[in-house]
Symmetry: C2
Subunit: 348 residues, 2 copies
């Protein structure tokens, strides 16, 4: 390809790259494939009423995790959780995972044991089976790939594209905590570098550090909505930050998503730590990512059934139109732009 | 884990590591899981008569491929083929793949395009669908993970463990070619380094170079055996070399595998190039790997139906006992030991 124009990946970002790949691969929808590239998980019809959801996630040392503060057992746990969360985002219940790791020679067998103990712990917590994977050498650092599988009734599937005007926009749990947890861990790392004698005291930040090191997939909420008998009209998990996920739902649903700043659920611990770091807590919630909570839309009558649910918060509603808008505390309408993580840009 | 004993991964190798991981993860067999860790693909029962086969493979730059002679389009093709071959090894027909890549900033968007063109070409060749994946940054080089899925009738599954004494041991195609192809490409690379003006002339080696750069998964043979109505009693794909795969079948079947040196199919091109490199062609076939042919066992009456098949060669038979034995041209019985690839050792 000498002489041809070469474009840096950082110039188009991950989403630009995915769009380009979609163009090359072409339309892959057939009679068995319910949904291909472009949702949290791919869906394949296995019978008239059942679909298989499959998601795959890659985690790279130095890009997605830092082993200087991420214990390997937590990393094993989190790697599985990240993948299960994608199945939850389809309104599915995961049943099986494959876990592949590539490792450089700096890793000991005992380190690999620690990682897989975390994998097993996640499997036990979520009642899923680890059915395979691949172990191989890497030239540098550790890379992890987890694929998760779940089976679900066709009518249960929640795509990114399903919202309708007047639907209520909801999130589970609280947002921004994992982002602050990362800031706290980074600060401890720098302080430890400056003064290795110092013992880190993370007790007062245990909630936020836990959000970063040991997030949970909201499978509980999928069960809960199933039991109440409500069906999200659209859903996505919050891996890159609320802003980015709102824009995904808006683009794929071809609707406008309007959310209210004062409704966004943010824990006290997150607000307090945001002040320490001179960060705006709303920005942490919008752009922080890694909370692995669910963002979904409900028909108004369905929302009535969960409006007192302690873990579900309505943050706005769907309108005709396009884009995502934040109504600030002062009543201004501010367009939401995805900042999320451009790992390709972070790196360069 | 300070103060605890640390064991280098190279001391136990990939298979030792997999055994250790199996011990930690524990027995994952349940009512839905037909087969977990330890075969070419995992199997999950989706209905009373149907199972889902899923395989996952990770390819790491500098470990599994060298971009100085591996064109990215071929790499995309080969990455898919490697994963499809695992489904074929279960006697299954693959239907869908997910393709994930991690890339450092040295890669251009155009390079990613080339890779996915190869992915698409493989999808078209094999009539499968690319249904998702993940793209992310890496700190160094390129890493690829492909998961393949296929659905099959439960009665069609060929495990590694199914052979019976008196079964005929068969291989498809010819062996050792991919290994010689790699030697030729390595030699060209060294010559190019010494004299960059030189134009490589690989025409006379096109068969062997093609075996290395653009292998095929033997889906054609799965169709062919289906049509003839024969069922392999055990099967594995030859990714690490015939020796290693014979030992896998022997251990998992709890039988002895006896093969005849003069029966091992080796192409003329492979024999001739082996002489150039002062290599024993039998060693290339036994330990070379990456041919992605199939090694399988057939009941004698089934073998009768394919004995004239141009692409199937009987190389020996199964006996009661354990281990794998090579009967040399001179009639000696030599125990076969797996050399294959220990990427962890290669690296250190």
């Amino acid at each position: 390809m000498e002489g041809e124009k070469q474009t840096g990946i950082d110039a188009i970002g991950e989403f630009g790259l995915i769009d380009r790949i979609k163009d090359i691969i072409g339309d892959q929808v057939d009679e068995t494939l319910v949904k291909g590239i472009g949702d949290d998980a791919a869906l394949i019809a296995t019978s008239k009423n059942e679909v298989l959801a499959i998601s795959t996630d890659t985690l790279v040392e130095g890009v997605h995790f830092d082993l200087s503060y991420m214990p390997l057992q937590h990393l094993g746990y989190k790697s599985v959780v990240v993948s299960l969360s994608d199945i939850a985002a389809m309104n599915g219940l995961p049943s099986h995972v494959t876990v592949s790791v590539a490792l450089s020679s700096k890793f000991s067998v005992e380190a690999v044991d620690e990682f897989y103990k975390g994998v097993k712990q996640a499997a036990e917590t979520y009642g899923i089976r680890v059915i395979g994977g691949d172990t191989t050498a890497s030239l540098k650092g550790m890379m992890i790939n987890v694929s998760a599988i779940g089976f679900m009734q066709k009518g249960k599937v929640a795509l990114r594209s399903g919202s309708k005007p007047k639907d209520v926009i909801c999130v589970s749990g609280d947002l921004g905590g994992a982002f602050l947890g990362m800031h706290i861990l980074e600060r401890e790392k720098q302080e430890f570098k400056a003064n290795p004698e110092m013992q880190p005291d993370l007790d007062e930040f245990s909630y936020l550090v836990g959000r970063q090191l040991k997030p949970e997939a909201r499978i509980d909420l999928i069960h809960s909505m199933n039991e109440i008998g409500i069906q999200p009209s659209s859903m996505i998990d919050i891996s890159d930050g609320l802003a980015s996920e709102l824009i995904h739902l808006s683009i794929q649903s071809k609707n406008k998503f309007k959310v209210y700043e004062d409704k966004i659920p943010i824990a006290e611990e997150t607000r307090s730590a945001s002040m320490d770091f001179s960060l705006d807590p709303t920005t942490a919630a919008l752009n922080g990512g890694e909370d692995y909570e669910l963002l979904f839309t409900l028909k108004l009558e369905d929302f009535e059934k969960v409006k007192n649910h302690p873990d579900i918060t309505a943050i706005g509603y769907v309108e005709e139109g396009e884009g995502a808008t934040l109504v600030t505390r002062s009543g201004n309408n501010v367009p939401i732009r995805a900042q999320g993580w451009n790992h390709f840009r972070d790196q360069s």
